[in-house]
């Protein structure tokens, strides 16, 4: 999978490149809109990460030119502007998704994966990790055959972690996707920490191996290790 990163802040661009390559993607960096257009004449990537506020030329005008030239691959906008109008403007210009800086890297990965996923994910009826079993239709959870009593929120949280098992999820992702909080300035960090601690008490404390891990400074991950 080839990803083109168009970002004039070189530190961020190369950090993203390294992060994406470590995840197994082929990532290329160009530092200006002009370079991006000439790069696209030679190669067709599977996804473009595009900064909106490029120093010389606005990312949105670059995006319109992409689309006019018949470039169909998904484009994920990276921007420091987060008002509703800015989002609408970006999506109107032909972007597929929108990520506000500063973003958590796990969140960027999640968006990239979602955009690259060719086929729609079929809704699953059950999720498994080690001896943890989640029945999504009946909304029941068992571990090693023992039924666990989870609250509705705990179930949603576990489901989200299970769907992303093996990958780190950030607090921002949980705030938005599990708590459905749309306002970016709403800080639910304390709530999330307490909720995760409770979930851990139920699904991990009486069992081995431990599955729910805190990745300090980033978020949480559900994995067997």
């Amino acid at each position: 999978m080839q990803i083109l990163i168009v970002e004039d802040e070189s530190k961020l661009a190369f950090a993203l490149q390294q992060g994406l390559e470590e995840e197994g993607y082929a990532a290329a960096v160009v530092l200006s809109g002009e370079d991006a257009i000439s790069w696209l004449e030679r190669t067709t990537p599977d996804l473009v990460l595009l900064d909106v506020m490029l120093s010389k030329r606005n990312g949105l005008s670059v995006l319109r030119e992409f689309r006019r030239d018949g470039f169909h691959a998904p484009v994920l906008l990276l921007t420091a502007l987060d008002s509703v109008e800015d989002r609408v403007l970006g999506l109107d210009a032909g972007a597929d998704d929108y990520l506000v800086k500063p973003f958590a890297f796990p969140e960027l990965l999640a968006r990239v994966r979602a955009l690259l996923r060719r086929t729609a994910t079929t809704p699953q009826s059950a999720l498994d990790l080690a001896n943890l079993h989640m029945n999504l239709t009946g909304r029941t959870v068992t571990r090693g055959g023992v039924t666990l009593e989870l609250t509705s929120r705990e179930f949603d949280l576990l489901e989200y972690l299970m769907l992303n098992r093996g990958r780190v999820v950030s607090r921002e992702m949980l705030t938005r996707d599990v708590w459905k909080e749309t306002m970016r300035y709403t800080s639910l960090d304390n709530v999330i920490d307490v909720q995760v601690a409770r979930l851990r008490r139920k699904i991990d404390d009486p069992f081995e191996p431990k599955l729910l891990h805190t990745v300090r400074g980033i978020g949480f991950v559900l994995r067997e290790d």
């Binding site: 987060d82 008002s83 500063p102 929120r153 607090r171 708590w179 909080e181 749309t182 306002m183 970016r184 300035y185 709403t186 800080s187 639910l188 960090d189 304390n190 709530v191 307490v194 909720q195 409770r198 990745v215 300090r216 400074g217 980033i218």
Partner: protein, 469 residues
């Protein structure tokens, strides 16, 4: 001229306007005075004619051959004040001229007698003669020795007109002098009345963003200019307040940003002083990322405030029950209370509904409930009450059993970055902006927010919202 009327010089403009109005009134006045004078002279003339006619009636006699003649001797008497340039004619009722004494250069009054001319009283009329002169005529019906006749006396109007013209001429000649004099007086008076304005203008020119403490001089607080100066000073005071608030906010924001930056820098620098194990580096990076999170929250909150200040946030209004919103908030942060073994109890009306932007109002309630949980001791109770304060106002109150807020700080806690206990609040992850965002969220809905001491020593935060907004 029209451009002068619109010129920037207020004194000149006032003077010109006054001058024009005064001139028009003066001309009107002259016109009326002249007309009245003319009428008066005309009446005097008729009156003189009647006396003349009465005298004439006494002087007329019939000669032996039946002609009508007049005793002219009377007129030769130098003491007689009678006007000599007058026309006299005597007509028979059938219009035949019986006698004519014309001193109007031969022109005759002409015309047959009018029906019943002069029979009841003296008949007055003005006639234009064939040579164009205008005369004032008085006629009277008279019997001389039983013989009916009509006597007519006519005076030339020209001397009268000349008199009126002289009168008008004098008035018109004086008018410009009067107008100039009046305008000069107005200009002087206006200059004196407006002199405080000039000093206000001079002072106002010195006022800049850096020197907002300057105030305009108030010469006489009771007059219009004094009132204007006071209003303007009030405006300056408000501007100065908001400028200093802005300055304080900018410097406070810089300080708040410095704290996580200082941590970031120290953590990084210290970890690079010596070589560490990769596990230790992981720890350092994680710690730095935690500070980055704090910075991000702070910047996000600052952005919300900046956007609110510039009025950029459009409200998405919907109608919902306050209690539903409260239950939703408890659903989110209730777990924090459970963690501290606190009980959140809701009381009051379930029906009270408001029309507001649910997301923004939710933020306010969320911040208030979150604070109540944060600052209340473990095992205490938090009471959330919804009621109709009056027919127009809904009130949501959140009462905690925390330490309470000293009275002198009860208004300041809604200020940006204001903290009752600096260190402790930051320790708990506060940005110092939660309550000021809540205040904005409530006020943008034309509501009020405040805090009072609750009965048990804790604090009671209340949000009042209009019911029909």
């Amino acid at each position: 001229m029209p451009s002068l009327f619109r010129s920037g010089n207020l004194r000149l403009r006032l003077t010109l306007w006054y001058g024009s109005a005064f001139s028009i009134l003066l001309l009107l006045h002259i016109g009326v005075a002249t007309y009245v004078h003319y009428r008066q002279l005309t009446n005097q003339t008729y009156h003189g004619e009647i006396q003349d006619l009465e005298t004439t009636e006494g002087l007329v006699y019939q000669t032996s051959d039946g002609r009508i003649a007049m005793n002219e001797d009377y007129f030769n008497n130098p003491q007689v004040r009678m006007r000599l340039d007058r026309h006299l004619e005597i007509l028979a009722p059938d219009g035949r001229i019986l006698f004519q004494d014309t001193r109007l250069q031969g022109a005759s009054i002409d015309g047959p007698p009018l029906p019943r001319e002069g029979m009841d009283s003296y008949n007055e009329r003005a006639i234009r003669l064939s040579d164009g002169r205008k005369v004032l005529v008085i006629s009277h019906f008279h019997f001389l020795n039983g013989r009916p006749m009509i006597l007519r006396v006519a005076y030339d109007e020209a001397p009268l007109i000349a008199n009126v013209a002289r009168f008008l001429g004098v008035l018109l000649l004086l008018a410009p002098v009067t107008i100039v004099l009046a305008m000069w007086v107005v200009f002087t008076v206006a200059s004196r009345a407006l002199s405080p304005l000039s000093s206000m203008v001079r002072r106002a020119e010195k006022i800049t963003a850096e020197r907002l403490s300057e105030r305009l001089p108030v010469h006489d607080a009771s007059d219009d200019l004094g009132h204007a100066a006071r209003v303007f000073n009030g405006l300056l005071q408000r501007l100065e307040d908001s400028f200093s608030q802005l300055k304080r906010f900018t410097s406070d924001a810089s300080h708040e940003l410095r704290t996580p930056l200082a941590s970031l820098r120290s953590i990084g620098e210290v970890s690079l002083q010596n070589t560490h194990s990769s596990e230790e580096y992981r720890d350092v990076i994680a710690s730095m990322l935690e500070e980055v999170r704090r910075l991000t929250h702070l910047v996000d909150s600052l952005l919300v405030i900046a956007r609110a200040d510039s009025g950029q946030i459009a409200l998405q209004l919907s109608t919902f029950r306050c209690m539903d919103l409260i239950q939703e908030v408890i659903g989110v942060v209730g777990i924090l209370a459970e963690d501290k073994h606190q009980v959140i109890r809701t009381t009051g009306s379930v029906e009270v509904a408001v029309r507001a932007d649910r997301g923004i109002l939710r933020q306010a309630i969320l911040n208030l409930v979150d604070n109540a949980i944060k600052y209340s001791p473990s095992g205490s109770e938090i009471l959330i009450d919804v009621k109709k304060e009056s027919e127009e106002i809904a009130e949501v109150s959140i009462t905690d059993q925390g330490p309470g807020i000293p009275e002198d700080e009860q208004t300041r806690i809604f200020d940006r970055f204001y903290r009752v206990d600096q260190g402790r609040s930051r320790e708990r992850g506060g940005t110092g902006l939660g309550l000021s965002i809540a205040k904005w969220a409530v006020e943008v809905h034309s509501g009020t927010i405040g805090v009072r001491q609750s009965g048990q020593g804790g604090s009671c935060f209340y949000v009042r919202l209009p019911l029909n907004s």
